[in-house]
Symmetry: C2
Subunit: 559 residues, 2 copies
């Protein structure tokens, strides 16, 4: 039998995981990998960290070579090689060698499209200035490194993951950095109350920020690049890096008549087959499904790309054992100076936009025993489906332990687990690693308390003479940040002073973090008051979501 001809377009995550898995499954196949650039299998997620010098060795970003892949997996890797056209009828691809300019047709039995996505760029005057960059590959990185010097100014456009990594690393290198972002806060897909610590971190590190803003033109005056903002300001800088998202590299697929989504992603089935069953696609170029509701999504992340390539290879060679790609939930993480933000699954914003019902609570807790040195607060927002209690999403920020909590909750989402399950997750506890009741347990407690009617939450202090405002904080805290119009009864004195409150008016209970107000609202409710707890306490004020923010337990391991 003639060996199967596999042709792979794209030699990074999806393409190479497909090619190497295919080889492990089939020793005979002829496998050719086309890579448009000069590097195969480079570590694109490491690029910002080499710019900042945190990854000192450029070579560590390019571990594989065409030769090493030939030696290990008998892959025919052709770098600097561009695919120009797919002839689906004759099952062949027209390819040009970008060095020699020679063209040739390469035949395939099965074709894998893993061309990735390119950085988005606005079409505005001056965008072609040599000091305006994007960051996709090692060559982009080299160009940025070649001009970035510690005494310079740099503007990053886009406060998403890569934008924040770039900001951090340029700042680390000593550049004076600014951020221009189209939305009101960084990582705009995150809900605002979770992201505040990152906003603070930008300020604390002296990053000049322009939110709800974007550039409309660039012009050069000698050494200086003048950048016009839509809201009027002009920013003078030495370099600009755009990091405002990516566009799928789907021109080839479109021209070949494959079905694309409205946004231009290649539509695939659960085995990563496109509308042509002999053509597979994986990675940033495809649209897949969200795991919970099956909504169509495009998620440009390395993990899904790698696993999609593997699924496609299994589908070709492992027929009866092949498992479908189960969809994505979009788990992601970013470090910004001393803070970490991570999220998984649905956000409140996305649920509102898709018109689905949900409940949410936000809790605060230390990452490990509060009495063990280095305890730092994590803020965790949990989102679940009201009818089933199933976890839909979570977001967290903090200095330490954020990745662990989001990974646990990503696992809970994939396992279709509920808020009741979270109450009884049995996580590893010793003082350096956690608490006897992890913040995830506490989020489960808070969520089930809401469901079971043990607490009513409000997200802002109403300006309404018909309610009583009760502040249960200590005298010291009240003196430091008084709340106008509040009756002050420290919680330990509450039971003896119930007579000071009017049973005919609702009581809005406030405290610092939302924990003591929960305790107080339990006392009040059981004494015949209509009590509502201010979510997130004073610290949470100014939030606009309907989320409940409270902590039933912080420091005492036994309560």
């Amino acid at each position: 039998m003639k060996p199967m001809q596999l042709l792979v377009i794209g030699g990074v995550a999806g393409g190479l995981s497909f090619a190497t898995r295919a080889r492990r499954l089939n020793e005979e196949a002829e496998i050719t990998v086309l890579e448009r650039g000069p590097d195969i299998s480079f570590a694109n997620c490491g690029l910002p960290y080499h710019i900042g010098g945190e990854i000192p060795n450029r070579q560590s970003l390019t571990i594989q070579t065409p030769q090493s892949l030939k030696d290990m997996f008998r892959l025919n890797v052709r770098i600097n090689c561009n695919a120009l056209q797919i002839d689906r009828e004759k099952k062949r691809v027209l390819v040009v060698d970008r060095i020699s300019n020679e063209q040739e047709w390469i035949a395939y039995d099965k074709l894998m499209l893993a061309p990735g996505a390119r950085p988005a760029m606005p079409d505005i005057p001056g965008i072609d200035d040599p000091a305006v960059f994007t960051l996709r590959n090692l060559q982009d990185m080299d160009r940025i490194i070649a001009i970035a010097r510690p005494d310079m100014r740099a503007v990053v456009v886009g406060g998403g993951y890569v934008g924040l990594e770039l900001l951090e690393q340029l700042h680390k290198k000593g550049l004076k950095t600014s951020l221009v972002h189209l939305h009101s806060h960084v990582l705009h897909q995150f809900d605002s109350q979770v992201i505040q610590p990152l906003q603070n971190e930008l300020k604390a590190n002296g990053v000049q920020t322009y939110f709800n803003n974007h550039f409309t033109s660039f012009s050069r005056e000698g050494e200086v690049l003048k950048c016009q903002l839509a809201r009027g300001d002009v920013v003078e800088t030495d370099m600009v890096i755009f990091s405002i998202g990516v566009r799928p590299e789907s021109d080839l697929a479109r021209e070949a008549g494959l079905v694309l989504s409205e946004a231009g992603h290649v539509v695939v089935n659960q085995f990563m087959q496109t509308s042509d069953p002999d053509i597979y696609a994986a990675g940033d170029v495809v649209q897949t499904r969200e795991r919970h509701y099956g909504q169509r999504v495009a998620i440009a992340l390395a993990g899904p790309a790698n696993r999609q390539g593997r699924v496609a290879a299994d589908h070709i060679f492992q027929e009866i054992f092949a498992q479908p790609y189960p969809g994505s939930i979009g788990t992601s993480i970013v470090r910004l100076f001393g803070m970490v933000a991570a999220g998984t699954g649905w956000t409140e914003q996305a649920l509102i936009e898709s018109g689905r019902s949900y409940n949410t609570v936000t809790v605060h807790e230390h990452q490990h025993a509060s009495y063990y040195p280095g305890a730092e607060m994590i803020t965790l927002k949990l989102i679940w489906e009201p009818e089933s209690g199933k976890i839909l999403g979570a977001q967290a920020t903090g200095k330490d332990g954020v990745d662990k909590r989001i990974d646990v909750l990503a696992t809970a989402i994939i396992g279709r687990m509920t808020i009741d399950d979270l109450c009884h997750l049995e996580l590893a506890y010793a003082p350096p690693f956690g608490t006897a009741r992890d913040i995830i347990n506490i989020a489960g407690f808070a969520a089930t308390n809401m469901r079971d009617g043990l607490i009513r939450l409000i997200h802002t202090i109403p300006d309404d003479p018909a309610v009583q405002l009760l502040d249960v904080r200590s005298r010291q805290l009240v003196e430091r940040s008084p709340v106008e119009g509040a009756i002050h009864i420290p919680f330990p004195a509450l039971r003896k002073n119930l007579g000071k409150l009017d049973k005919n008016k609702p009581v809005i209970v406030i405290c610092q973090l939302g924990r003591t107000s929960y305790f107080a609202s339990r006392v009040l409710s059981q004494n015949g008051f209509h009590a509502v707890s201010l979510t997130g306490g004073i610290r949470g004020l100014g939030h606009t979501e309907k989320s409940g923010v409270y902590t039933p337990c912080t420091t005492c391991s036994s309560i």
Copy 2:
């Protein structure tokens, strides 16, 4: 209606979580908490770390006081108060105040038994020497601190969690430490190939170890305590701390005629009710069920204790909303100098003892991108049920990121997830936090590869002339640690040298970590050889379990 009388015996984890939850659910109840010692709600998990000075402030271990609990939760806390007898007929408990020696009967409607467990001590000559300690409470801790000086010698008996924490902290304080342990390696419930890095850590830190050994007597010669070992040696030391496990404090329950397990634990139902429905029990004193097979277990850990107390309070006051305690899986973690070991669920040993079938694989991977500074290897052993693919247990060791992986796998066990689910867990990835294919994904890949017949594993090199031994490592590695009798063909040269092997004899393929031998065994199998890969490679040699140890991917994010 007369308020309900709740009486709680034990004022630490289970008892106080019961009492405070009860108060939040019921404002009227009269809640009395009896604590035999002088401290309420102390942080018992922090004791070793105060001995070593890592937690400098003793006060941070005693956050709550009887007064603070009265102020916040209207609890009547009585310290130094011992329960002597339960009169179930009259629903009352005889109590003695240990200071005044006064006795009284206290009535209850519902009684909570949360007396904990006491450190086990062997009955051997000299055990009552004042330099022989156990560590249960702050007073034990104070006594140890009072005599431990940096120039001293100390022996820890028992290489379990607390024993290892004590060893580490005494060493940190400057004492010359020894360990006596009844089994062949520390944390004997862990499987041996995972625990080797901890054994190495003991050696690297100069801890004198006596495995498969125990003390038979102590005798004093002036300042020196002479400790006789069962295997003949005599250890001279200045102090000995026993940490060989705990015994449930169930005398009171036994005398009251409650049903106990053979090992003396109080038997409870899923709402933590003992055989007397008005008496609940929680924490180290009870026997509960393992979550997967429902086997009866006793797990002395803080997390379960806290949640059990809460379940009991819910059962009394939240009738229709009360959720049962779902059982325990025994997730646990310990740090020993620079290494961390953690585990969850079933171990291979326990499955063998209970006669259940299982499969297992062990993989190695970095905790985060290998090209990002500080990459360290984790070793992860995964255990699953062959028929269903459900995860039964996991154990891991490494310097960093071990807690996260075990927490994710604990969640997967509780969610009854399978090896297929692990392949597609979508965990948070950025270079400082993980890899595009996390070690948990890789464990899933390895497990499904085994199930699907893509790899056969062997755990040791057979001394059998009927097999061929093939070493596919590089020349450098082979020269550094040659394996006798092996044919050496570096993997990149394998396909061209298949003629050097005999198709009529099985080929045992070996490499350094077990990864390249997997690749090679795929090449051989597809070329008609009967190929078997040495699990864990050369590094894994000497292991006795049947586990497969291999890593399909280490450094390259794209393969």
